[in-house]
């Protein structure tokens, strides 16, 4: 995979639909507005793989105009939790898109109202789904996103996570949602955020993705700092040690199996190590990524694609 770095000529693959061949049927179904095919795709995901369902649901939510056929499906199958949850995820996506990525205080009144309206629509669907199917993890996961956007408070987000964890104690996507909520910008504290990330990572089985939460917490923390503090934060030895430990216990662990979240996790670790100047540590993650990358955290870096390629080249030189 190292050869892809040479010259950086090949374009980066940022869309998971392009990066993962197994997701192609979902994109086809979404483009065709084909509910039967969409349902068949989700039914093909093993029941135990709630992470997979949530990943695919979030991905589907990003496909334009899917709310049209999802609304019909939710109406046609009022007892099925899947169409309502997928529709809610789509509404949440539309809400965040209307909101933009700025700070809450910078939002215009219209933006804020539109954002809240979409999230409320999603939340009303999810209240129903969770009432009818209290063990349906994808709906609880989406409700962590609505809880944050609707600013329902720390204790309410925690309650939702606890309800979810009763049924799925190591659900990394839900943990990632709660981690954001625990950050100071959503009303939490760094102690709570780092504590939760460490707690999830150490409780998770070896080779799970949970270690990435440690990296997410550090990246979020770094993003809140300014100037020299921001530059120094990820260079700190103790931060690096935590990252290394988390990576070894998760995506670099021999028990780790490649799945749909692979790109996201390696991208996050690659970013955390790169920004901290630990290019040797980033190299294995870059090697795992090849030309694929998840934008989720990288897009917060100015001119991120160029920076990604530069970091990747520099990292591969350390090998």
């Amino acid at each position: 995979m190292g050869e892809s770095a040479v010259g950086g000529a090949r374009p980066l693959v940022t869309d998971p639909f392009d990066a993962v061949p197994g997701l192609a049927p979902l994109r086809a179904a979404a483009w065709d507005g084909d509910w039967a095919a969409t349902r068949a795709f989700f039914e093909g995901i093993p029941v135990a793989d709630a992470e997979g369902v949530c990943f695919a649901a979030a991905l589907l939510a990003g496909v334009d105009r899917t709310e049209w056929f999802l609304e019909k499906a939710a109406k046609a199958e009022p007892a099925d939790p899947l169409p309502r949850t997928l529709l809610a995820e789509r509404y949440i996506h539309l809400g965040w898109r209307a909101r933009g990525r700025g700070l809450g205080k910078d939002l215009s009144r219209d933006q804020a109202e539109l954002f809240q309206d979409w999230l409320r629509k999603a939340e009303l669907l999810l209240i129903e789904v969770c009432a009818e199917h209290p063990a349906y993890v994808p709906a609880w996961t989406a409700r962590l996103a609505t809880a944050r956007g609707l600013t329902l408070g720390q204790s309410e987000a925690r309650r939702r996570y606890d309800r979810l964890a009763e049924h799925h104690p190591h659900h990394v996507r839900a943990q990632s949602h709660l981690l954001k909520q625990l950050c100071p910008k959503w009303g939490g504290s760094w102690e709570a955020a780092h504590g939760f990330a460490q707690e999830c990572a150490s409780a998770a089985p070896d080779g799970s993705h949970a270690g990435v939460l440690v990296a997410e917490a550090h990246i979020e923390h770094c993003a809140e700092l300014e100037g020299a503090q921001a530059r120094e934060y990820l260079r700190d030895v103790s931060v690096r040690d935590e990252l290394l430990h988390a990576a070894r216990a998760s995506v670099l662990h021999p028990d780790h199996r490649r799945d749909w979240q692979w790109t996201e996790s390696h991208s996050t670790f690659a970013l955390a190590f790169s920004l901290g100047g630990h290019l040797g540590d980033a190299a294995r993650h870059f090697a795992a990524l090849g030309d694929t990358v998840s934008e989720t955290f990288w897009q917060t870096v100015p001119d991120w694609k160029t920076r990604f390629t530069e970091f990747r080249t520099a990292a591969s030189a350390t090998l």
Binding site: A131, E132, L152, G153, S155
Partner: protein, 605 residues
Amino acid sequence: MTTHEHPPAPELDALDALDALDALDGIVRHTTVDGIPTLFAPRPGEITAGLAFRVGHADETLPTAGITHLVEHLALFHLGLSDLHYNGATASTYTLFHVTGDETEVVTYLNSVCAALHDLPMDRLETEKEILRTEAGSRGQGPMSSMPLWRYGAQGYGLSSVDELGTRSLTADQVRHWADTRFTRDNAVLFLTADRVPDGLDLTLPAGHRFPTPAPSSALPVTPAYLRGEDGHLVFTSVVRRSTAAAVFAEVLGRALFQDLRQKGGYSYSAEADYSSRDADFATLTAYADALPQKQDAAVGGFVDAFARLRAGRIEQAELDSARGKLLKRYDVPDLGAALLPSYALSLLTGHRSLTPEQHRDELRAVGIDDLREAAREAWDGGLLQVPARGAEWAGLTPAPRFSPSGVSGTLHPSLEDDDVTLIIGAVGVTLSTPGGLVTVRYDACAAMTTRPDGARCLTGLDGFRIAVEPTLFGDVTAERIAVLDKAVPAAAVVPLPARPAEEIPQPRERTAPDARTPAGGRKQTEGRKRSEDREPAAGRVTGHFVLVTALATLWPVLLVALVVNGIKDSSPMGLAAIAGCALEFLLIRAARNLYRTGQPTTPQ
């Protein structure tokens, strides 16, 4: 009240209803005593007796609020200090005089109450009013106290939220008339835990008629609705059709809340629900949970989810069985007939049909999960939720109105405390304009207006909105403007209050930034924003600003006259400029006055 439940029945005439009690033969017996329908059933030991009248808070008006309570107090006065265990109680739709003692004591008590109702000791009126005011002061306001006001407004069933204003101004004639018309033998029911009616009863009361329970008013255009309450408390009320299923649902809800909010989540210490009949056809369902401030968001979320689960019909058979079991247990008591007497008596009073224990048991056994789901949906749809923090729009609830739909036009009186607040006194009503919205009380929908000799007027609308017109807090509220109010508000709504000590007359506080979320207006809180007792003295202050503006106000007329004289000399048209100059002078004087009063620069209106 009781959660004992029977299905609704058509209104029945009192004595027909008594005949209908034939079905209860073998459980309770019935007769009449001096024209009063009487129920009795034996119980060994002392006798408990109750004389109930179909009159309560909900029958009053805001200016007469407390009149029923006052009659009850006056009727019991003659009994004075005795060791007898007796009391009176005034509820929303009934008033009950009850006693426990031997036969002679019970006869003495009942005879004394009826004799007193005939001829109330009016020499005690002022003292009892004073006692009731003291009682109200010590009662305090619980977290649920404002729910009826938000649902019904300041009338009918909403009056249980309000101060007993009648204890201020009621006259002997009003009280006597209330006793003569409401405390009659045709508006009463007697019950006794005895195997016969005791000898020596003389319960002669005037004839009258049975008053139906009042029709409910509404101050909630849309339900389910929510309002913001104080930290640490979550309250839900709803109005549901009376049914056995709804009573079982209240039990199920209480247990679900206890399980989710306390046992599972640890967000609450108390979590409970209650079902109480409101009138013959409807009942009030109440749910309550407390929470520590740092857990209250979760308590709200848990409440919404617990209710959603019940609405979705995800109710375990075990939940139904244990709730049903608790209601069935009420019948596992010795001397069942005696235990059921109060419930049967109240049903008879409100025109609600009475079921035999066997009929009610059958109904309880017939309640299924589907019935509970329907009851849950009905309860939610009519619900009013008081949340401690944030809102509840996310859960599909609509904010209960905090502002009136419209304002009135009239004279403008800027607040001397807050630049963004203006009082408007018009021909049809008064409006308080605040940054959050308008609060209006129309004279023709004014429930009560209290008056003070210092000119203060406080108007409360039938919808529960309240505006305090304090001449000291708004500009130009002259005696003439107050006279407009006095003339327009119907005399029956006026409640004169005594003069206040000078230190209780409010003075403008330091100006603060207007807070749109807790406007000076708003239901109940309209004159809210508690005014601190150690506020600024009333005297004006000479500040730097004041000196500057006064100097300008003094110099400008000199300059103006000079300009006008020069203008006339030049024979150019000076009318407009002269008027503008005068207007500026007026503004300067006014600004100077405001500075003197408040020490803060203001933008004159």
